[in-house]
Symmetry: C2
Subunit: 428 residues, 2 copies
């Protein structure tokens, strides 16, 4: 079905830096057909949505998530990291069923769709359940089964992960993509990382891995291997396939030589990195080196809210803090990271609106008091808007949020079931 949106403003995020005011977008299931001013638009549409105060932009791409952890939102919050993991998260995860994980992923998806996220990169377990949830919700996802080397002496789990990748890649009309997910160098010894790197190369798969997230990780890798996590991953052959590096807080100037020519890039998770007391990713260093930087939320158990508008704000705020200047990082840098940056890291051709590109976009209600007046629409989107301002979400030509209503599943039933499940999990 061909659909037309007539809105107050379209920010296509193209290389030309166009902003159309007013603007029109026409799309169907095959992709975007028109982006520009309403007068020049030739296409006849079966449905037209008119929103004179609407701001239309590419849908946000969450480059690092553990979606099902939405079920653990706020659990033992503010605890020291190791206590939190070993006394709370890990024991609970050991009791999660695939059905819990399906439900948790739906819960996270309700939240993501409502706040303007069209796709996410996920690392978790029971990934068949996650993939089934993604099929249901209509979102895009890049899924990786998390691999812990110490728990996989025979390589059985790696083989299962490869089989998962092969089974689901390109499913759901291409909305589903798959990757390998060696968790981190402190849970995967170098030999195991090398086996994963080898499997990725031979099967043509990308890799999703946590690297250089915390001071403790840096210290541990230095002590054990006299390497930074980046060098360790490089030496294991990880970077010979497309790699999504989650966090990268402690990447150093020295590390840049190991990252030279990398496919993929770094996903910054500024809220998680602050909330866990880890630090601030060195954006200027990566930018200078030409390494793509995208944006992610991390799991809701540590981040609490998957709203990518919060992540854009926080990325700008911490980069300005660390640069000691208001112009150290601009609103457009944040919006770029959350759209084209994440797309670049994933090797995805979305994150930009142009004929032939995927029809993934969102529309905000720009008429609300906190988005008024409009001196600078990009500043309003990044610094003043929140996910709650999103009224429409379109993914792969399908409207997932229609004037504020989720169309693909019953979010109230999911939330009610999550409340029941939490009560059971707390007791189990």
């Amino acid at each position: 079905m061909r659909t037309r949106f007539d809105v107050g403003c379209v920010i296509p995020m193209n290389d030309e830096g166009d902003i159309f005011r007013p603007g029109t977008v026409v799309f169907d299931e095959t992709g975007i057909q028109y982006v520009g001013s309403p007068e020049a638009c030739p296409a006849v549409a079966e449905r037209t949505v008119a929103m004179p105060q609407g701001i239309l932009l590419p849908g946000l791409l969450n480059g690092h998530n553990h979606a099902a952890m939405a079920l653990m939102r706020g659990m033992a919050d503010d605890s020291p990291l190791f206590e939190w993991l070993s006394h709370h998260v890990w024991p609970l995860e050991a009791r999660l069923t695939p059905d819990d994980i399906y439900l948790g992923t739906l819960l996270a998806s309700a939240e993501m769709i409502r706040s303007g996220t069209v796709g996410f990169a996920d690392m978790y377990f029971a990934m068949d359940a996650v993939a089934a949830a993604v099929e249901k919700t209509g979102m895009r996802a890049w899924l990786a089964r998390g691999l812990v080397g110490n728990e996989d002496p025979t390589g059985e789990k790696l083989a299962e992960a490869v089989a998962f990748c092969q089974a689901w890649a390109g499913k759901a009309n291409g909305r589903l993509q798959t990757m390998l997910g060696p968790h981190a160098p402190y849970t995967c010894p170098p030999e195991y990382l090398a086996r994963v790197a080898e499997a990725a190369k031979s099967h043509g798969l990308g890799i999703h891995i946590h690297l250089s997230e915390s001071r403790d990780e840096m210290d541990q890798m230095a002590t054990l291997y006299q390497k930074t996590p980046i060098q360790l991953a490089h030496d294991a052959g990880i970077f010979e396939s497309r790699t999504l590096i989650a966090h990268g807080v402690y990447i150093t100037a020295d590390d840049l030589r190991w990252l030279e020519g990398i496919q993929g890039g770094v996903i910054s998770c500024p809220v998680s990195n602050a909330k866990l007391g880890n630090g601030i990713m060195p954006y200027p260093l990566l930018k200078e080196a030409g390494i793509p930087v995208g944006l992610g939320s991390d799991g809701a158990a540590s981040t609490n809210n998957l709203d990518m508008f919060l992540e854009m704000k926080m990325m700008a705020w911490v980069q300005k803090l660390s640069g000691h200047r208001p112009d150290a990082f601009r609103a457009m840098d944040a919006l770029w990271a959350a759209t084209r940056g994440t797309a670049q890291v994933l090797g995805y051709d979305g994150g930009v609106l142009a004929p032939g590109r995927p029809s993934d976009f969102i529309v905000l209600d720009g008429g609300r008091p906190h988005l008024t007046p409009e001196w600078d629409v990009v500043a309003n989107v990044v610094y003043a808007a929140s996910g709650a301002d999103v009224r429409y979400v379109v993914v792969d030509g399908r409207i997932l949020l229609d004037d504020g209503l989720i169309t693909t599943f019953d979010e109230e039933a999911v939330a009610a079931e999550a409340r029941k499940r939490q009560a059971l999990l707390a007791k189990r």
Copy 2:
């Protein structure tokens, strides 16, 4: 009129740390009559609001604002500070009429009410217009005319400010309170600060002042007077009256001796302090010294969004960053700062729900996906909720936001007029 709220959870923020689940609050214009479990509630009410997923807590108090600057939201955003002020903000402020300021304050109030703020401390000019807006909106406010010493050689403006204070203090059924507002030590020389301090003492007025906000301010005061801004204010006699110190980013351990026994305290503005690249307020130092710390947004021209839920998040995030530990600052510390902390700084008996206290509170819709499930209701309120989750706002016993609708003025007309006025201001 006696009104009763029956909700899923009441967080009264009392010293006992009570949480009532389910909970009931009964109030009228004279104050709160009951806070507790529904069964024990004896009061008969004329109206009952039932919200089984509702989370009821004291209304948030924004301790530092320049409300009318909402008209400049996003203007020349991300520019270096001096360029922004001298080429954009000051020239535009010179053209603002009292009517613009009335409108800007209404615009900011729509945003504040919608996001759960019940009262704010404001420093601006044409304050009669700000006071008139506060009368209209039904909010509480602590108003100070900003005084720039260099522009007041005869003390005429100081005299006008005192007259403003006397004219408006206690008006609007006590919702309006007034203070003196010497802008900052870099705009008010020591002799002028001493005159303001003297006027405050002789008229029994509190003082609202920007202190220790930026590195530049610290350097300038050191060069000119060989003092920190805190010592300078102390020596001018400012702290002999109740003082609201906005920002306090660069307060040092040495400064504590000048703050000993201070009435009032520090209002942290973590978003503004990050967005302008200034830094992080030393919360542990102030907490250790027993100095009250509240929370504020600063003006929307630099902060862009007046949502105090963003400020609570950012306060927690930057304090955890600066403490390098997730437990360096907890969700309850942020909620305390935004309610009782600001109240303490202002000398206000609100910010807590108990019989006889002011009936100022808010109710969130806790059933939304991003607030589900509920392992920790305070973590959900601080880390996961946003202002957009607020459904009811009650101030001084009057419902200002009723199931999502502002009752005291037409917010759409205000937003429409603000858009028109912006177009004119951009041309003037």
